[in-house]
């Protein structure tokens, strides 16, 4: 028997100010000019897998439906190919908006615990901070172990092929002046520029949105 689902959005479901927050990021100002034409979704190669298409995401962000947006699959599916940004007749920088949404979702934890993409992003972040460079196979392996360890089994063939063609480096890539880089990155945190209208940079460099009510997981 088909289970009935009641879908209606009340004003209380909105998180006022969320749209403004995203709009205040340099590069994302055109958000308001969107005419909902659907070119972005039509051109996006991944839109067929998204629960909300890019066009819908823009509308939801404009209307302050923060939870729906940050919980969506869409922001993780964006491969940043920039077709939407280039084709948009109103020059809305959709890809940059997707990045902003990814950042907020990562910090506020709007995704299942072992979801591979934010895990990859976090691992990448940590590795660069520690070593200055990433070594792909280590990164990929760590990501798989932390998100879907069964994936290691399905990728062993690929791993072997990479080893046999010499594309699986066993040496960790790192820079010489690691402390210099770490100092530079940490300084950014201390220089908390409030140009993002309410966003503060926390010590570990992740973004915390000002509007924290309705912060569901």
């Amino acid at each position: 028997m088909h289970e009935l689902v009641r879908t209606i959005k009340y004003e209380a479901d909105r998180v006022p100010g969320f749209g403004e927050e995203i709009k205040s990021v340099p590069g994302c100002e055109n958000l308001q000019s969107c005419i909902q034409c659907g070119t972005c979704s039509g051109m996006c190669p991944l839109s067929i897998y998204m629960d909300y298409t890019p066009r819908q995401i823009i509308e939801l962000v404009r209307s302050d439906f923060k939870n729906e947006v940050l919980k969506s699959y869409t922001i993780w599916l964006c491969a940043s190919c920039y077709v939407c940004t280039v084709e948009c007749p109103r020059e809305v920088h959709i890809t940059d908006i997707m990045y902003e949404l990814k950042q907020r979702a990562i910090h506020e934890g709007y995704y299942p615990k072992r979801f591979p993409i934010p895990v990859l992003a976090r691992e990448f972040f940590r590795t660069v901070f520690k070593y200055g460079r990433v070594t792909e196979n280590f990164l990929a392996t760590t990501m798989m172990l932390k998100s879907n360890w069964k994936g290691v089994f399905s990728s062993w063939k690929l791993g072997l092929k990479l080893i046999s063609t010499g594309r699986f480096p066993f040496k960790k890539e790192e820079i010489k002046r690691k402390d210099e880089l770490q100092k530079i990155l940490s300084t950014v945190d201390k220089l908390s520029i409030d140009m993002l209208g309410g966003i503060s940079h926390l010590g570990n460099g992740t973004k915390k949105s000002n509007n924290n009510h309705n912060n569901h997981h």
């Binding site: 491969a79 990045y99 990562i106 992003a121 990448f124 699986f168 890539e173 210099e180 520029i193 460099g205």
Partner: protein, 290 residues
């Protein structure tokens, strides 16, 4: 003019063949370069997903190091690095607070960005700086039997198209034609290959790669040429999974620098041709340059 060579993390790893072939070609053509000393990761798309200011700063450190070493032009073969470095420069240009923050952060390491530095892709450098005429003269072994589908990917073309048309780029086409190869009509030149999704969310990622491979075969190509290490990996490494899900679409994917190298007569071992998971011999047959 000596270019500052910024390799990026992937050409040291899965994209080894890109660096091997690129450096071999640069040496053969007499283009001067030097690897940036102590370069750090650019952050690619993953860092942007955490914090764009830090991503900007990461990229800026490399640019500042290049400035300190006296370079005016950086060559970034990896598409993601090319995009991130350019994006950071534009981000700093368009927003004063960003530029100030970045420079303040760099100042802790006695670095700064004060001059205009250009970040360029090898396609741009070979086509515009070296020139097609000189390239044609340098060709020793025309790639007559090669029917190439030129695949540019996203990030060297979008969103900043400094050296080519955004919808129908032709820089790689021109280079390949100069090498004597036949360039097939390929409408999916700039369609996304799936990026990192092939590893994290296989189904959508693999579909992107499958569509490109399939269309290349349908257009009569026997090799795909690309300029990005992640694109090469996606188009090269998942044929088993693609065959299982849909159908076999075996066509080798080479870096355009490998094709240039073959045309210049450089041997296959140096160019890293053996590093392709789908071997060149799958469609071309005999080894090209033993």
């Amino acid at each position: 003019m000596k270019y500052c060579y910024y390799p990026g993390c992937s050409v040291k790893g899965t994209g080894r063949a890109y660096e091997e072939s690129l450096l071999a070609v640069l040496n053969a053509l007499g283009i001067e370069y030097e690897e940036l000393e102590d370069w750090n990761c650019c952050g690619a798309t993953a860092y942007m997903a955490m914090d764009e200011i830090k991503s900007c700063v990461l990229a800026a450190r490399n640019i500042a190091l290049a400035e300190k070493a006296g370079y005016t032009e950086i060559m970034a073969p990896c598409s993601a690095c090319y995009l991130v470095l350019n994006k950071s420069l534009r981000y700093m240009e368009s927003s004063k607070p960003v530029a100030e923050t970045v420079n303040k952060a760099l100042a802790t390491a006695n670095l700064k960005i004060s001059k205009k530095i250009k970040v360029r892709h090898p396609l741009d450098i070979i086509l515009n700086d070296y020139g097609l005429d000189r390239l044609k003269k340098a060709v020793k072994r025309p790639l007559k039997e090669f029917k190439v589908a030129p695949y540019y990917g996203c990030q060297i073309i979008r969103p900043y198209s400094t050296f080519d048309d955004q919808y129908n780029p032709t820089s790689m086409d021109k280079i390949l034609t100069a090498l004597g190869a036949t360039v097939v009509e390929f409408p999916l030149k700039t369609r996304c290959c799936g990026s990192s999704l092939t590893g994290t969310l296989p189904e959508p990622g693999l579909l992107c790669a499958y569509i490109i491979l399939r269309e290349a075969l349908r257009r009569g190509a026997n090799v795909i040429s690309t300029g990005c290490s992640l694109c090469q990996f996606n188009l090269d490494g998942y044929h088993d999974k693609i065959e299982k899900k849909w159908e076999p679409v075996r066509i080798p994917t080479l870096y355009f620098t490998q094709l240039i190298g073959l045309a210049l007569g450089i041997d296959e071992q140096t160019l890293g041709i053996h590093r392709c998971i789908v071997p060149l011999s799958a469609t071309i047959g005999q080894p090209v340059n033993a």
